[in-house]
Structures are given as C-alpha cells and as structure tokens.
Subunit: 334 residues, 2 copies
C-alpha cells in the first residue's frame, strides 16, 4: 500500500507537501497539487489511519460494547449507530460482553488499548459501584445506551413510562386477572403496575408474575391459570421474544387471543405484525436513540471541556395490534 513518502518521491516533492495536498488543509501550488492527486489516485492511496492516530491524538474509533448483539433489538441499534458514526467520519469497533461483568471489563481494556475516542455501552450492571468506578477509571467520553445511569451520559427509553402505557391499556380492557412475564426489577414492571392501578384499582391481587424462560414451565403455569380464570387475562411480556413464546403456548393450549388472553410485548420487532393475531408491542425509537447517543458522544469527544451529564429519556410508543384489541382482531377476522 502506497505511503505519502512514496508519493513524495514519485512526484519530486516533500512528504509534508503531499500531506497538505491530500488533506486539503493549506494552499499548495496548483500544479503540484494536480501531480500529487493524480499519483495518489493512480495508486489508490489510502491514508494510514493508524499512523495518523499516533501522530494526531484521535483514532476516529468509537467503541461499542453490547451485552449480546445476537439479540435483534441490539443488532438493529448497532446498524443505526454505525451509520451515524460513519456519517461523522468515525468507525466502530464492536464487542459483546455476553451479560458478563468480567467480560465487559475485558472489553473496556481492549478499548483502552485501541485508544478509541469514545465509548457507547450497554452496561451489564449499570448501577453497581464497581461499574461506576470502572467508568471513572476509563476516563474517556462514554454514553450508556438503553440503560439509565447516574454519573454518566445516558440515552434510553423510559421503561416506567412505557410500562405505564401498557398497564393503562390492559387495565381498561376489563380483565379479571393479569400476568407479567419477566423480571420485576425492571422499570417496565413498576410502570405497568402504576398504569394498571390507575385503570383498575384492585388489580394487584390478581397479578401473577412469571419469571422463568422455560417453555415447559410457562406452559404449566398458563395451563393452571386458565383453568382457574375464565374471564379475560391481560398479559405483558418484558420483550417480544418472551411474548412470542407465550403467544405460541396460548395457541397450543387453545386459549383465544385476545378474547381470553390479551397479550402485549416489548421492542416491536418485525415478527409482531407477522403473527396472527398481530402482537401488540412497545416500539422504541431505535434510530433516534442511536443517533442521539452518537451525536452526544461526538460532542463530548470534540468538546472535552463539556462536563454536563446527559439524561435523555426517550418516549416509547405502544403499538396496538390484534393480540390485545378485540376491534382490531375482529376486523382482521373478516
């Protein structure tokens, strides 16, 4: 691969002059300019960003640490992150922590080694002391994505608000019981409960939680549940994956959706509209989140004096489909 020095020799000028031409910084004699450009084109010159990074102080690299990119929600985010980074001249280097704190720490070390200019991370444990300390030690611009953090910039959707929307939606459907599938330590649950209470004050007694991911176990729980409850049950799953799983199990058990069970998921993945009845789900503004995160990060990179902390809570939107809407599913029946 040809270097500036080589181009300099070929065109009979000095290497810094080649640099000036290729970077278009300062004025250069038009003739020389043309000669150099021609030579560069001819040999498909590509600046060595490694050398440039060493000399200058920026690598134009943004580190990305995901918990698990094979989750399509994150994969979708990655795409937008990369797009927005590229639009600003940055490239991304990617790692998966696999929901493992030790691995996440390793990832951060590798980031340091590559001297990335900044970091976008989906933290494994966003509020632990050790994570905060690690970020402080990191000492580079960083944005937490998808999670709310205290001492660092973060861009996320407001899970409480989103959960509330689902709660108030299901609460108004006239259910006799409710099920939440997922971890109750999430804001989704908190908000869900709030929304539910507003719409249906004495809901809490009839609210069941399903923690397990295991199909057999979920099937058993649902089976028992629908033996006991003959009226409508409102079900909120903490992500689409779980919701789809439950969708299938309900079908298998012969439970009518949405008449007997009204189901809502989270993430609004493409499968939602392909299921029958369509799966209601909470849609997160992925593109906007990604763009906001990258823009904020780049701002911090380019303005090291900026010390404010961003806490950007974006609003999710509940998309109602047949799985939780009688009118909707009846329309589809026709």
């Amino acid at each position: 691969m040809i270097t500036m020095t080589e181009i300099a020799k070929l065109t009979g000028v000095s290497q810094p002059t080649v640099s000036r031409v290729l970077n278009g910084n300062q004025a250069v004699n038009p003739e020389i300019r043309e000669r150099v450009l021609a030579c560069a084109r001819e040999h498909n010159f590509q600046p060595n960003v490694i050398a440039r990074s060493l000399a200058g102080s920026r690598t134009m690299l943004i580190g990305l640490v995901f918990t698990d990119i094979s989750n399509s929600f994150f994969a979708d985010l990655e795409k937008y992150l990369e797009q927005e980074a590229k639009r600003n001249g940055y490239s991304v280097i990617l790692f998966n922590s696999d929901y493992d704190w030790e691995r996440e720490k390793e990832c951060l070390d590798v980031m340091r080694r590559y001297r990335v200019d900044g970091l976008i991370i989906v933290p494994v444990e966003e509020n632990s002391k050790r994570f905060r300390e690690e970020m402080k030690r990191l000492d580079m611009p960083a944005v937490a994505l998808t999670r709310r953090t205290k001492d660092m910039d973060c861009v996320y959707v407001d899970h409480i608000e989103a959960g509330r929307q689902v709660g108030s939606h299901l609460g108004r459907l006239g259910c006799e019981a409710y099920v939440f599938a997922g971890t109750t330590r999430d804001g989704k649950y908190e908000g869900f409960l709030e929304g539910l209470k507003e719409a249906d004050p004495n809901c809490e007694a009839s609210l069941t939680n399903i923690e397990t991911k295991n199909s057999e176990e979920i099937r058993e729980i649902l089976k028992k549940h629908f033996k006991k409850h003959t009226g409508k049950t409102g079900i909120f799953a903490y992500n689409d994956r779980r919701a789809i799983q439950i969708h299938g199990l309900l079908k298998e058990l012969g439970v009518e959706i949405p008449q007997q069970a009204s189901l809502v998921g989270f993430d609004n993945t493409y499968t939602c509209e392909f299921l029958y009845p369509g799966l209601s789900s909470v849609s997160q503004p992925n593109r906007e989140m990604a763009e906001k995160a990258v823009q904020r990060l780049i701002w911090k990179i380019e303005h090291p004096e900026e010390s404010s902390i961003l806490d950007e809570a974006m609003k999710a939107e509940l998309i109602i489909r047949g799985s939780s809407d009688d009118a909707c599913s009846m329309a589809a029946e026709r």
Copy 2:
C-alpha cells in the same frame, strides 16, 4: 494513559526493558521485572496497540463487512466471529454494506485505511467481475462468508443440498401442490426442485413461486391458491422471516397447518420453536461457520505464503417441527 517510556522513567530503566518485561519475551532481571510489573499494574498500563501496529506490521484487527447486521442470522454469526477472533487475540471492526455495492466498496477502503490484517465479508454480489477485481486489488487475506466465491476463500452452507432436503421432505408428504416463496435465483430453489422431483416426479406443474414480500399481495395469492387447492400444499420459504409471515397469513385465512399447508423455513431462528405449530426450518451451523472462517483467515494472515483457495461447503440440517409434520403436531395437540 501511561506509556512504556513513562514507566521506564518511573522505574529507572530503559523503555525497551519495559517492553521486554511487559511482553514477557526475553529474560530480564527478576528485581527489575517485579518493579516494572508493579508500576504497570499500579497505573493500569494498557499497551497502545496503535503504536504497536505502526512499529510491528500487524494491527490485530479483523474487518467484518456484513450486508445487514440487523438481520438476526448475521447478528448471530457476528457474535461467534467476535468470540473466535477474541480467542486469538484479534478484535473486529464492523461495517454494514446495506446490500449496496458502492457502500461495500467504501467499507473496503476504510478497511485499507485501518490496515486490518484480514477481512471477512458477506459480499453483495459475490460473483460479479467488479467484486473479484476489488478483492484482488485489496490484496489482503479475506474470507467470504455465507456465499460461495470462486477466486477467494469461502465458507458457506450448501444451499442446493439444503434445498434438496426440504424438497425431498415436502415431496414425501403427499402434497397436491407446492409453493416456493423467495427468489428462484438461489441455490435453495434449485435444490428444492431437485429434491421435489425425486420424491414426486410430476411436481413441477403444480409449483407456484411467490416473489413478493408484501403481506397484502401474499395474502391474495394464498387466498386464491387455497380456494383452488383443497389437498395439502407444501410451502418452502427462503428464510424464516418470510416463513413466519406466511405462517401468520395462513392462520388468518383459516388454513390448517400442517394439514392443509405444510410449511418450512430457513435459518432456524429462535422464533421457530415459539410458533404454534412449531416452524420446520433449515438450521445452519452458525458457530462452526464462524469459527472456520476466522480460523482460516488467521491461518492466512500468519502464513502469507499459503496460496490455496478454500471452498468449504458446510451442511445444513432440516429441523422438522409441527408445521410440516402431522405426527409431530398431533403429538403437540395432546
């Protein structure tokens, strides 16, 4: 971030000595060794791989060019690629071409700029002349993933063989008609046809192709189809996404799966087992493909003299679930 030179000053030795200690290459005086290591630990020294790359000739970077990482099949692959790369001390830098040749070319240029040691790519157009020329110009170790290429290493699943499995499976079900949903220019179709013919010699007359991705259009086609055909129809969709879409549409139209329509997808994504009835699908050995690709690439990186061309056709496996198996779905009914 502390450098070797700084550690050298702090410990009163020369920088190369620090390098020797930290890289564990040569024998160093144990006392010095300890002093240096202690200092490095204390300051959380992280070697500047940028500088190392400039000095040595390797960047320990593997470039990844995907068509679209938001496709969960690729996202899954990425995860394994990154894992295997990390296991060998490499990191990955990731780009999406978005199925656009021009963008793919841009990605390759960025790769050059970063002087990545090698490249794993899902080519947009693996057999075009311009792609081959581009790869030749690239002049670095590269492996095509998921696609069969002629002049460069490739690791992929044999689509023809996979399609044949599906064809022979559906062909033996005693269908009166068949549908293929997807592009017929794929080996999947070719193999499907072969397998079908073997099992059901006069199938071709009753084989319909659905090219469109549009739900409304597919619904209309299916509606008409099942008005005409009352016996069983075998449907093969070229990926799970399309299969799931059809699954939902069949449900909506009240077509019984698998009695009236036996459905098979491709990729065996997690949704397959969550649907009801479970979706039969072709499972690709993602982890093995990823590992093979990375291992081959690293071999080429470390053995530049190696000039052979790898053509690794891996075998896919048809996973039969309720959507195409009466026994299976009847068992589930119970």
